[in-house]
Symmetry: C2
Subunit: 444 residues, 2 copies
């Protein structure tokens, strides 16, 4: 990709320490300016950043940790005007990260516009539409003609998040409709907005969960979604690029949970403090010990049968492992299908039936395979014990794996916490008991 | 959400079987029309679909399987004109799904425009930018003024994927620049495109991987990305909504792989044939048997020490399980960090060092805990065996979990195949050997 090679070249020149390089930097796309800055050391980053023209925009593209680092390098006055120039959602995100005394001092320096944004957006809880939305949207009155609308849009200064969807509101800011710039351009020049706009507007409410909002945006393929408050007043918009970021963050969260890791929340694996990484993992490791202890207790309970038929121990990992693996598969399928909206909680019963059939097929296959091994290493009675156990263990594993996400949801927990390690350790304990119980019934 | 309630209501009315309901349906957003149709039975879906006005657009929003089902209900003539009206990327997707003889017959009925689209887009391999792109983009000549540009855009008929980014090409279709509708509206009316357009265009090439394309789009927050062929001619665009779909599909693929399930490829968990679900899972279950067999062989090798110290079996699941769990965590973190671009393969060595530190902390914590249990149930010698084993097993588990994605990549396999079950079964076998080896050295 030619463009990327150019960036790479510039980046290398920059690393050699040439000083007037910021003129070259300046010519790049904002996102590329940010990318190159983010790969420099803190001192150099600050040095080059100071010389950029479109500082506020570049700042928005940097990871939050770097934004704060840079912010501290500016005198309060300059920082305030830098923040005034940011988009409202990024401005709020940065503001929230600052220590209380800096926030206090900033209040005296920020523009009235920024102070109003703060008042409007600061209060919404994390991960809701309210916390995510930007107040940089464009509204028009319904009685304008297309020609007037174009004239008005021409003169709108400042960096609005999008000019492509324009919301139509009454004098009290109630959302009446939406019109796209495409509609404005392509309608008869003397038609009024009232005649052309779409009145069946899809919107989100301020308290809606951000994951839901991202899913709505993706479903309708909109460039932006308006957000209204409890009185149906338009208070913000969420744009498609926010939706993409949320979708990626939510997927990452789900994937880490599936591996029994507490989500890192924007930490990079490369730079996160060792102790934080430790904290993110030790909780689940310790919790899972209890699952393993159950397996141990199961084994202890059947110590006699083990010591008389030591061949049973050879097959223990195989049987117990297969149950855990089948269970992990079920849980993974289920958690993802819930996350993408492919299945709902009300589908549980019908899914349970389907899953049982799949489990019987899987268990049957595995049972035949393991009974052959059992006959080779033991006798036909061992083969029967193994086949029965395998069938029971795989069936049980699948049902546990499928049900756990639903049970967690009922307990008001995230179904994604039904991680492979958690399912495995529950299935292990169940598997040990099924296997050794069957063995003790048939071999004694 | 008021809008969704309305949809829900309409949906329920529809299910009661009222017949003139398609007039109500007609008034909805295209995406909602598709959603409601998709929840009906095949016969009703076809019945209502036939009466819609914007059939082609609704069709695009339906899952591919339903599109084909509906397509078969139309006579060839009608099907051809329906397909002519679709966006080029959706048209190609549908066409590719049809049996060879239907494709042949369609060739005689489709418009010349569609035939050209077929020629241009049909040849690109799956999962590349070429296969994904649409040819419904808008181009303008560089010498037009803003006023002329607006006039031209006003008259552009048909359903282009976006009117918001317009690509500027020379007479040979070479990409010269890009201009946004916003720039066109806000520039001086007599300025020429040449003066205003951005010439530093970020683009993709036809053979680029779709995941990379989606990542580029998300990084720059563009509404669309142009795609050029080997001669730098503009041949298509990929829009943000395609990027969202890809990102979701890729996440699903990674998540299913992390649970040792072969990706379902658009199959729904609710409706996929049982046998297909079986196929998607049995491969990995059988592969993983070999890992468990290794554990079994390890155990068999140390049968003597087990039968003299049967207390060791009690702790076996705990030790071995902890190694597998820690390993799964490492693999999960690594696979996701690779997928989001947080780490690259060149970072492996430095990450290995960090991971060892985290593993030592985790292993240390677990070692202390398990040695207390060991002292209670056995004696201080057992406690020492357990502590040493736990430390070794967790360390080894983390290093295996972290390295496996890199090794798979070196073997030209998808790092996401380093699933929790795979890591667990490798760590299990290693854990059995570490534990019983240490025990045999210290307890005999």
């Amino acid at each position: 990709m030619q463009h990327q090679e150019k960036i790479q070249q510039l980046h290398e020149t920059l690393l050699t320490g040439e000083n007037n390089i910021h003129q070259l930097l300046q010519k790049l796309n904002i996102a590329d300016q940010a990318r190159i800055l983010s790969e420099l050391g803190p001192a150099e980053r600050c040095h080059h950043f100071r010389q950029l023209e479109r500082q506020a925009e570049v700042l928005e593209y940097l990871p939050l940790a770097m934004q704060i680092q840079l912010a501290y390098q500016f005198p309060l006055e300059q920082l305030a005007s830098l923040m005034d120039a940011m988009h409202s959602d990024d401005f709020i995100d940065l503001y929230k990260q600052m220590p209380c005394e800096v926030q206090q001092q900033l209040l005296g320096k920020l523009s009235t516009q920024s102070l109003q944004t703060l008042r409007e957006l600061h209060a919404y809880p994390e991960e809701t539409a309210g916390a995510l939305m930007s107040s940089d949207f464009v509204t028009l009155a319904p009685e304008l003609s297309m020609t007037e609308a174009i004239e008005t849009l021409r003169d709108i200064a400042g960096n609005h998040d999008t000019l492509y969807l324009i919301y139509i509101v009454d004098e009290k800011q109630h959302l009446l409709g939406v019109i796209s710039l495409r509609q404005i351009i392509q309608a008869r020049p003397d038609a009024t907005i009232n005649e052309v706009m779409t009145t069946d507007v899809v919107y989100a409410t301020v308290d809606e969960d951000q994951e839901q909002v991202a899913r709505t945006l993706a479903y309708y393929d909109f460039i932006a979604l308006p957000v209204v408050d409890a009185t149906q007043k338009l208070v913000g918009i969420i744009t498609y690029d926010d939706a993409m970021d949320i979708a990626e963050a939510e997927s990452t969260e789900d994937i880490l949970k599936s591996g029994a890791v507490t989500p890192l929340n924007e930490l990079s694996l490369k730079t996160a403090p060792i102790l934080r990484l430790y904290q993110k993992r030790v909780f689940w490791l310790v919790i899972l010990v209890f699952g393993s202890l159950l397996s141990g207790i199961g084994i202890a309970h059947f110590e006699d049968i083990i010591s008389t038929h030591i061949v049973l121990v050879f097959f223990l990992p195989l049987l117990v492992g297969s149950g855990g693996n089948a269970g992990s598969q079920s849980a993974t399928l289920m958690v993802r299908a819930l996350a993408t909206g492919d299945v709902q909680f009300k589908d549980w019963f019908s899914l349970l039936g389907r899953e049982s059939l799949v489990a019987l097929c899987l268990g049957g296959t595995m049972a035949i395979a393991v009974s052959i091994l059992g006959y080779i290493r033991g006798d036909w009675m061992v083969a029967v014990v193994l086949a029965l156990s395998m069938l029971g263990i795989v069936l049980m594993g699948c049902l546990i794996g499928m049900s756990l996400p639903f049970i967690l949801n009922k307990l008001k927990m995230d179904p994604a916490s039904a991680s492979a390690p958690l399912v495995t350790s529950i299935c292990d304990a169940t598997g040990v008991i099924i296997y050794l119980f069957i063995a003790s019934q048939l071999l004694f």
